[in-house]
């Protein structure tokens, strides 16, 4: 699986799961799958310590999140000990439940990070940039330029630092960094200026009139208004169809705008992604899993997804069907391409 579409669908499926469950069983299952998939991709790229690095990050996240939640949230039945009430914020009962809740949040944050990290491993920078809608072509261009710009500026920073060191600059105080920062800043500005000259000289922006710019502003405002009011309505007891309509109208406004603005930008791509049978399989698998998951979730058939340790700690419930969705993080391993 090397094409970007199945990977994006995989990302969407995994994000949908992670953002809608707090069930520790499911989360741990999903996390295991993520580590196995990540390890496979990292080995392909000969990154040896990927698992250790990410495990360290995950544990840090869990620890931090547990600590914060335990200190600031004082609900829960199982009181471990109490801090004096006079202490601001942290004062109160320290409960087992808030610890568990914090730990679960930490796992979710870590898993979200891992999911994006794996996408980064699976796709090249070019593939990722191409996923940015065509309407935002200038933005995609900025990302590309920045990615090329940074290594060269880093190299310049090293040269400048060495030159100033040999000149006797000690670099102990903050002001000692001026001899490095000023040449670096000026060089970066000069480079940026030259780069824009170079892009202009090669016809960048030559074909882009801003015919739709006024339309874009009006459209975006309308779309944002609809989506926002839909969101406000969900918080009160309005009929569901009203909010659905608002979301629908706002969303389609946004899509139409993207297509219209995208059409305006005439950009083609030299490199074509090569699709293999495994890419098609992946696309079918992850899109159908995403659709089924959303459908089941909306019809409230997956009640075991929700879990709360409050008020008193209870064991999480379990549904066999959910297991399949959790394991989807693992599926890329079976769709591994052999090249």
């Amino acid at each position: 699986m090397t094409a970007s579409l199945p990977w994006i669908l995989w990302l969407a499926a995994n994000l949908a799961l992670l953002l809608s469950t707090r069930n520790p069983i499911y989360l741990l299952l999903n996390l295991t799958g993520l580590f196995l998939t990540g390890n496979m991709l990292a080995q392909k790229r000969t990154q040896t310590s990927w698992v250790q690095q990410n495990l360290r990050f995950l544990l840090t996240m869990i620890l931090l999140s547990t600590l914060i939640n335990t200190l600031f949230s004082h609900t829960g039945a199982t009181v471990l000990f109490s801090l004096p009430e006079t202490w601001p914020l942290v004062g109160g009962d320290i409960t087992l439940e808030s610890m568990v809740y914090g730990a679960i949040n930490g796992v979710i944050i870590g898993a979200l990070y891992l999911t994006f990290n794996i996408l980064n491993l699976a796709l090249s920078i070019k593939q990722i940039i191409r996923l940015i809608p065509r309407a935002f072509y200038p933005a995609a261009m900025i990302v590309t330029v920045a990615l090329t710009f940074f290594p060269s500026i880093q190299e310049r920073a090293r040269e400048i630092k060495e030159a100033q060191m040999i000149r006797g600059s000690k670099m102990k105080k903050v002001t000692d960094w001026l001899p490095i920062l000023i040449p670096l800043l000026v060089t970066s500005l000069e480079r940026a200026f030259l780069l824009s000259e170079s892009m202009t000289s090669r016809g960048f922006h030559a074909h882009q009139e801003s015919r739709h710019s006024r339309l874009a502003i009006v459209g975006l405002t309308l779309a944002a208004f609809c989506i926002f009011s839909g969101w406000v309505f969900t918080m009160y007891d309005y009929p569901k169809w009203v909010t659905f309509c608002l979301f629908g109208v706002g969303g389609s406004f946004f899509l139409i705008l993207l297509i219209l603005l995208g059409r305006q930008t005439r950009v083609t791509h030299f490199h074509q992604e090569s699709w293999h049978i495994k890419d098609i399989l992946g696309t079918v698998l992850f899109s159908s899993s995403l659709i089924v998951f959303i459908a089941l979730r909306l019809s409230n058939q997956l009640e075991s997804l929700s879990y709360s340790p409050y008020m008193a700690l209870s064991p999480p419930t379990f549904q066999w069907g959910c297991l399949l969705f959790c394991a989807s993080s693992l599926f890329p391993i079976f769709l591994k391409s052999n090249d």
Binding site: E159, P183, V186, G203, A206, H207, F270
Partner: protein
């Protein structure tokens, strides 16, 4: 055809025009060299040709400009970019991507060209510039010459009528520069491209040139064939200098065009006069079997080097031979194997403070050093670093040796390339180190600035300073070197007299050495002083013609 009629341009917030009343006509399919001293407006002139001036720079422009029937002033850079390919001075700074192929295809993707057509165009450009072997390589891994070819290929995919190149060979070693010019002339011949090139170092380009546009310091222009313009120019390469002195017409543009010259036997016997390595004393700097790697790649392999008091040791080599890495290893900026001795003491055990007390280091780019408000502050900063102090009066005297006394209160970055280079040099020598390591100090300098630098370095040499000079400007090196070290692929290939290095080592011969093989002359001065004194230019009539 390019037609320019009384073009005058002035940058915003300046009192003087950068181009004054310029008129010329460049025929299609010709190669024009734009030259002139620093600040005469070469880059400005080139940028007029694709509309970057005035569209990007601002400023006021008057007069008329026609590029193949198009007017860049009214149509703007974006439109004219399809006709005029532009290659900037620093190839690295103009790249947007990190892969060769992606860089070439940028303007086509951006124009929304169908994929099949793009493939044809890209393959064609790659073939024209000989980049087949590196099309999928990372841009940071390819050589300087390849980078320039890539920049040209990126312009060629648009099928321009004209190619504008801003100092394309200034950062290349002699062999890569020659190779690049061969490709450019091939484009001119095969595609009928009109080429406009700017360059300081005429010796590299004259053999390929049809016309010269010479911008004078007062921003006016002489345009014509080399035979018409060269006599007007004060600063010319050695070949032209000798030919002018010997009153040879027409002026030979390449060494092979120089008439057969039978120089007196008395000179032929002398061999290499410039061979006085000062090895009587102990070396101030000694490097034994130094090896170093960058990443996984070995860059230096068992390099030996001795620097003696009061000598200029010149280190020459192709781009990527490991010259800068050698300087960095000597200073201990990168780890290396082997032994380094400074004034007889092992450098490995010394701390950086002691080393830099003795050694001044000038990086390739003088802008790396300059950050202060004034030239004087720049010097004060170095002195403060070394816990020394000097009065402003003493510093003014010191600066006058660099020709910078009047500029002491100017902002260093506003100065010309040559002045900036000398400011940087002053800043690294104000604490009076005995040893100087100079990395490509002539980058972007015109003949005049180079002459000033030569005089300054000669003066230091006579005062007993030791100078290790890294350069691929062989003409500059020949005028200065006491000894030469040539490195290739990280290995020392040659150590010896400049007479031998610059007349016998392939790729590094000076023009004079090629003109008078086995004479031992390597600079125009060597040749002219000998000719003047010993035969007093007594020529037979057939040499006059």
């Amino acid at each position: 055809m390019i037609k320019i009629d009384s073009l005058t341009f002035q940058y915003p917030q300046t009192s003087q025009p950068a181009l004054k009343n310029i008129s010329l006509e460049i025929p299609s399919g010709s190669l024009t060299l734009v030259t002139g001293p620093t600040g005469s407006g070469k880059s400005t002139f080139l940028r007029c040709l694709n509309g970057l001036v005035p569209h990007f720079s601002g400023g006021t422009i008057t007069g008329e400009l026609q590029i193949f029937g198009h007017d860049p002033i009214s149509e703007g850079t974006e439109t004219i970019s399809a006709r005029v390919g532009f290659v900037f001075q620093e190839p690295e700074a103009q790249f947007l991507f990190d892969v060769v192929e992606d860089e070439i295809v940028f303007s086509l993707e951006n124009a929304g060209m169908p994929r099949e057509q793009m493939h044809v165009r890209v393959n064609q450009a790659i073939r024209q510039m000989g980049l087949e072997g590196i099309r999928n390589r990372n841009i940071h891994e390819i050589s300087g010459g390849e980078k320039q070819k890539l920049a040209i290929a990126s312009a060629l995919v648009n099928l321009p009528d004209m190619l504008v190149l801003d100092e394309p060979t200034s950062q290349l070693d002699p062999a890569s520069a020659k190779d690049l010019m061969t490709y450019i002339t091939r484009l001119k011949r095969d595609l009928g491209l009109t080429v406009v090139v700017s360059e300081h170092r005429l010796e590299r380009l004259l053999p390929f040139v049809d016309f010269i546009a010479y911008l004078t310091p007062d921003h006016t222009l002489h345009f014509g064939t080399p035979q018409e313009v060269l006599p007007e120019m004060a600063q010319v390469p050695p070949l032209i200098k000798i030919a002018k002195e010997m009153k040879i017409t027409p002026l030979p543009l390449r060494v092979d065009d120089f008439p057969e010259y039978e120089y007196p036997a008395i000179l032929r016997e002398k061999g290499f006069p410039k061979s006085a390595p000062k090895q009587a004393q102990n070396p101030v700097l000694e490097i034994n079997k130094l090896s170093a790697s960058l990443g996984k790649q070995q860059v230096l392999d068992q390099v030996d080097l001795q620097l003696y008091p009061g000598e200029v040791l010149t280190l020459v080599g192709t781009n990527g031979a490991g010259k800068t890495t050698l300087l960095r290893s000597i200073l201990g900026l990168i780890p290396s194997d082997g032994e380094r001795y400074l004034l007889g003491e092992k450098m490995g055990a010394m701390d950086l403070e002691n080393i830099i007390h003795q050694i001044g280091y000038l990086p390739q780019n003088p802008n790396d050093l300059l950050f202060a408000e004034t030239v004087l502050d720049e010097l004060q900063f170095t002195l403060k670093n070394h816990q020394k102090s000097m009065s402003d009066e003493a510093l003014t005297v010191f600066l006058s040796k660099f020709g910078l006394a009047e500029m002491q209160n100017r902002y260093p970055r506003d100065l010309s390339v040559g002045e900036r280079q000398r400011t940087a040099l002053a800043a690294i020598t104000v604490h009076k180190p005995g040893i100087l390591l100079l990395d490509e100090p002539t980058r972007g300098m015109d003949y005049n600035a180079k002459r000033k630098l030569t005089n300054l370095l000669r003066d230091w040499r006579t005062k007993g300073k030791s100078i290790l000079l890294v350069t691929h400007d062989v003409e500059f090196a020949a005028g200065l070197a006491d000894r030469v070290l040539i490195i290739e692929h990280g290995k020392v290939r040659f150590t010896g007299s400049p007479g031998a290095a610059f007349s016998e080592f392939p790729g590094f011969e000076t023009q004079t050495a090629r003109l008078f093989p086995h004479s031992g002359w390597i600079t125009a001065e060597d040749c002219l002083s000998q000719l003047k004194s010993e035969i007093n230019l007594s020529k037979s009539p057939d040499q006059q013609s």
